[in-house]
């Protein structure tokens, strides 16, 4: 919502520290007064949401308070609202939608419609401090794709807002091309980026695999873009297993805002480093998927390995963090949807 307001009022979204709904009008009549609202019966209707916002700089406050800020919204189903990744910064959203667009352009005909239940496509904690969404689309039968997963999570924590966006393509055992992982974590004035082609084989044993999917496509050059960016530091995942599923050319970096006062530094990092870097890595992955994979010898081992990645890589992560933020019920629903959402059952 902060992003919408900023777009309307030409305020950098970083300048807004808090936004609160004062009241909501439909056709100039108040329909709701209070903080948050869900209007399942009003899907499709246009509302005007009046806001009270707190800003970081006093000159902005003077300008906006006079104009009584409001935004016009069209009430939509949570998962189909006009904005995907609704809580990311503008620059972050551009990155995520670009990456998913590149993948979907190529893979759309190979994917089934999503069967993810509504209450997993959007879920919210009881105290309203955390919201999330996971959408999984399984690959069609002969597609070589297990599933495509898109998710976001927004939490207001004592330390500040946390936004995690993820885009994953897991492939089936019919091909040995790597899986695709992109995770984008915004919190405060820093950003963590995970971007990788996850290997399907033990690279120590199979040197041809490394040559085919990591050296020939020049992935290390893309990683260096992030390594050499200003204010960039390597990030080490706390989970040893996650470290071990990543490839030798994995992009795993924490980017911080520069020393500029208005926080524009981070948006600039996203635009000049993350956007082009993630685009290159995604395009290289598409190329690998379409042209460099070969059909599995040793399907059994590949299946076993992929299952390990799903179980110890993703499930464990979800099971550890979701209960804390959303409670056990929601966490179980989400993990179940993850387990059953793909073409290949865990």
């Amino acid at each position: 919502m902060e992003a919408c307001l900023a777009a309307n009022a030409a305020i950098p979204s970083g300048a807004i520290t808090r936004a609160r709904i004062c009241h909501i009008e439909r056709r100039n009549r108040r329909v709701y007064v209070g903080h948050g609202a869900e209007f399942p019966e009003l899907v499709g209707f246009r509302l005007r949401v009046h806001l009270q916002i707190s800003l970081r700089r006093s000159e902005f406050a003077r300008a906006v308070v006079c104009r009584a800020p409001f935004i016009n919204v069209t009430v939509g189903k949570a998962a189909e609202s006009g904005t995907r990744f609704p809580f990311l910064s503008n620059a972050g959203r551009k990155v995520m939608t670009n990456v998913s667009a590149i993948v979907e352009n190529e893979l759309c005909p190979l994917l089934q419609d999503t069967k993810t239940p509504d209450d997993v496509r959007y879920y919210k904690s009881e105290d309203g401090n955390a919201q999330g969404s996971i959408v999984i689309r399984a690959g069609k039968d002969s597609s070589k794709i297990d599933f495509v997963l898109e998710s976001w999570l927004h939490a207001t924590l004592p330390s500040g807002a946390l936004d995690i966006a993820m885009f994953v393509v897991m492939l089936g055992p019919e091909t040995d091309a790597p899986h695709f992982l992109f995770e984008f974590i915004e919190s405060g004035s820093s950003l963590v980026v995970f971007l990788d082609h996850l290997p399907r084989k033990d690279l120590v044993l199979d040197t041809d695999y490394q040559q085919r999917f990591y050296e020939a496509p020049g992935l290390d050059e893309i990683r260096k873009l992030f390594e050499e960016a200003p204010n960039s530091k390597p990030y080490i995942s706390p989970a040893l297993f996650v470290r071990s599923i990543l490839s030798p050319t994995a992009v795993l970096y924490k980017l911080s805002a520069g020393t500029q006062v208005d926080g524009g530094g981070l948006e600039e990092q996203i635009e000049t480093v993350v956007y082009p870097g993630s685009q290159k890595m995604t395009e290289a992955w598409i190329e690998s998927f379409l042209t460099r994979g070969s059909s599995g010898c040793n399907v059994e081992d590949t299946l076993k390995r992929d299952n390990q990645i799903k179980t110890f890589g993703f499930e464990v992560d979800l099971s550890a963090n979701l209960p804390r933020l959303f409670g056990q019920n929601i966490a179980d629903r989400v993990v179940e949807a993850f387990k059953t959402g793909g073409r290949i059952k865990v």
């Binding site: 690279l203 120590v204 040197t207 490394q210 297993f241 470290r243 490839s247 081992d301 390990q308 990645i309």
Partner: protein, 334 residues
Amino acid sequence: MVLPTDFTLFGCLAALSPDQSHVIRHPRSREMEAKETSSRYATTALRQERDQMEPILEDVDAASNQWIQFPCFSEAGQILMEEMAQAVENELGVLLYASKTPSNVTRFISPKGNAEGSLILRAGKHRSKVDFAMGSWLRYDLPFGTLKVATLMIMASSESDAPHFLFEFIENGSSSLIVLLDLLPRKDVVLEPEYLKRFYENNELDSIRKSIERVPQSQSYSCASLYVRSLMSPTAILTKIQDWLPSGQRGEEALAYAVESIVLPTAKKVFSIWLDEFRNGSKEIMDDIDRRIMTKRDGQIKRYGIEVDLSANLPKLFGQRITDRVIAAYRNGQ
């Protein structure tokens, strides 16, 4: 200066007058040490014979019991590597044969004299859990300073699934250090997370890695070789240490301090964790197929991790003849 040698050919010692600093050197076996004490001076005949041989290099401390030395390094660097080599000898000496590496591989020098190296291998005894212990170093002069690379590695044998131990220490002129310290996994830990848990999670390896990460003058370092990156465990220490200290001190003293108070204790800690795992945590692989896969994997590590590196770098510095000798010795494993 009294200089020992345990040529199996000669079986006794040679001494040189101070102005002659070249003598053939061999790592010592225990039998040779006993003979040394009885006679410290060579006869004229022996000297003549020795002089006819290909002049190689250099001196060794008579009283030392070291299977490898690191003469070209900074003082702190030399102490570091020799203490670690001593630890290998102390803890694993009983499982290792004396080195049979030919003398023209235990020490070699480039025709122009701008590069020197040493490779010393000690084979593990029959059916022990060690395949071999390897010590090596290289120094070469570059426009901006001298690069010195030291390696200590213990390759575990197929008798157990213990990780390999790898310690590499690089002095970049006198401006920075690079440290690589790791327990190389024997298995694909994605396929077998139990291996990860047994050797990497239930101990201090990751907190040691984190404490190095927190050292202010350290920064993360990436190997140029993707293959070497893929060999490393998730708790590998791979760091570059710059020549300054938080106290403001700079230059060689800062590096020496870092070596003594950070690198050496860390290397010892990791080595002792490895030793514990090697002795107590490792298991014998009973399944034939698994064992064959592990052996194949180890072969890949030896070939693409180490040999390829040698084949790529040595010819430029030492020429093909020396390179071939070194690689032959390495493949021979002793």
